[in-house]
């Protein structure tokens, strides 16, 4: 295809991505380097019968004016990155000096909003991803052994947790695990503790969110692995059997190597997707016990005072995190491409 034709074909989509993905990234970076204007103060002298008094008050008009003229705010450099809400360098250094041991240092760090969100996001990402791959694989192997008529039905129901809107899916589970809901009261009965509430403890909230994450994403792994199992070479499987491989050995030495490329694919996609965990925290109303990077951005942006600069700074830090996670995917794609051409 000629460069010219390519250009015209590609122009609309390039424009859309340039204007609404590339430009916002630039805009986020600029915003993160600015901070809101201070209020303008004026000194007024009030003269009464007992002499004159000087009073300082906020000049609303001037404040409005300067905010309107420079909506970005004033230049702040990296100060927002280093403040208490983000990297909190001063607090971390302070904690490092004063903490007696590594445990108390970590618990101090964990009280800082950014590190708290980071620790949940990373735990979630690296716990949920392997578990959903294992569950997905088990479902795929089990469904593959079913008879043909049942398969369609099972696949239909299996797709539901993945297709359903994340916020809605988490709400549905949230209502069920409520202390008055069916799973919640079932657990109370099992534990023999009528006051047990999954929402009240940090540990249980984390587990609950992760169980939701696995429930939501396992169908994706299942579908991909199931498709992979359809292309399994039957001859290899049978010759392995003739050579005396047990059922388990066949899975270990024939099936798993066959679908290994798919495992990497699912792992990479899910690492990216789990890193942006956000809706379940809103749905489960779990922000008191667990926050994620996406959630702190959302929290800054919502509400009456839109903390644009703070949200922008968290966004830039999140983007850096995504970039680090993404680097293996890029390397893999690069190798794929070079192999093909």
């Amino acid at each position: 295809m000629k460069h010219r034709t390519f250009f015209w074909f590609f122009l609309p989509t390039a424009l859309a991505m340039l204007l609404f993905i590339a430009m916002p990234i630039v805009s986020v970076i600029t915003q993160s380097l600015h901070t809101a204007h201070d209020q303008v103060f004026i000194e007024v002298e009030n003269c009464g019968p007992f002499g004159c008094e000087k009073e300082v008050s906020v000049d609303t008009e001037a404040t409005e004016k300067i905010r309107r003229e420079q909506p970005l705010g004033k230049w702040a450099g990296l100060t927002i990155y280093l403040d208490r809400g983000h990297l909190a360098t001063a607090e971390v250094a302070e904690a490092w000096r004063t903490s007696a041991d590594i445990g108390s240092f970590l618990s101090t760090i964990n009280n800082l909003p950014f590190y708290r969100a980071m620790s949940f996001t990373l735990t979630y990402t690296f716990v949920v991803t392997p578990l959903l791959i294992i569950l997905g694989f088990m479902i795929a192997v089990a469904v593959n052994a079913l008879n043909q008529k049942l398969k369609g039905l099972v696949i239909f129901f299996s797709l539901l947790p993945m297709i359903v809107t994340p916020l809605i899916g988490s709400l549905i589970l949230f209502w069920m695990i409520d202390a008055r809901g069916v799973i919640g009261s079932g657990l109370q009965w099992l534990a023999g503790d009528p006051d047990l509430s999954l929402k009240a403890s940090t540990g249980l909230t984390w587990i609950m969110l992760m169980v939701y994450g696995i429930w939501h994403s396992a169908p994706f792994a299942f579908v991909v692995f199931y498709a992979g199992l359809q292309t399994l070479p039957q001859d290899t499987l049978e010759s392995a059997m003739i050579d005396g491989a047990s059922r388990w050995q066949r899975i270990r030495y024939v099936v798993i190597p066959h679908i290994l490329p798919l495992v990497t694919f699912v792992a990479l996609i899910q690492l990216m997707d789990n890193f942006r965990v956000f809706e379940p925290i809103v749905g489960f109303n779990a922000e008191a016990h667990a926050t994620s990077l996406s959630w702190i951005i959302y929290n800054d942006l919502g509400g009456e005072t839109r903390l644009l600069s703070s949200a922008a700074t968290s966004s830039v830090l999140t983007i850096i995190g995504v970039a680090i996670l993404l680097s293996p995917v890029l390397v893999r794609t690069w190798r794929d491409f070079n192999r093909k051409t």
Binding site: M176, V223, V224, L330
Partner: protein
Amino acid sequence: MASAAEKQPMGLRIFLYGFVVFWLILAAFPFLWTLWGSFKVELDFFSKADWTNALSGARTMAETGSAFTGAGYEGAWVQEEFWKAVINTFLVCFFVVCTSLTIGTLGGYALSRSGYRYTFWLLILALIFRAMPPITLVSGYLLPFFEWNLWGILPTTIIVLVAINQPFTLWMLHSFFQKIPKDLDESAMVDGCTRFQAFRHVIIPVMWPGVITTGLFSFLLAYNDFAVTAMLLSKENQTMVPKIASFLGTTQTEGNVMFAVASVVSATAPLFVLVMFFQRQIVSGLTAGAVKG
């Protein structure tokens, strides 16, 4: 078809069936439970006294005289005007799917037919964009949209969702276009078609399955979005998902939770139908990127 390698002993068979049944309950039970419960009053759906109330509807019977009540639905759809959100959602989804397929097929076709090095870099760039959490981009939109008075209206949200969908759409369509032999459009061009005519009259007609699959995923992305719609739409223009979230924000007075339950069921129903009719396409779409590599 049943080769010796597929024969299973009885014990394993029972175990496999047991596991599948366990997974089915895990996957489907929450939906069925919520569907059933949405026709009850709150004291039954969240029953402190006895969980079987949610099945039998004892309190519902006492309050309304019948075991099922549509009060939650009435409250959500009529009183809280959920129907407006439903219309908004379908407007957004319709335009997002149409626009992203139009510009996505053009772009994906160009990427699959050009042999130059830069197509690879464009695809990599799209992959990087695909990995961006949408919420990080939203904080970049707000200020310019406030400044230019674009905030809060449907068209802005539609364009933003189209753009966020583009990287994914491009990748998927690119992999579908690669499966169509190049000879097809080249012979059309030898016969005197321009590049665009070859694309329009020769390639698109054989591409329909791929276009439908990609359209489905665009639809799901727009339908399921929360971050963008919650942040960029004003209260009057809200779509379903942010509307449901706002039900939760208002105080949990009796009945209000049931509005949320009813609207959750209403929002899940279209997805049910979608999976029922397009199961094959969804499965092929999920595996499109995976199996070829």
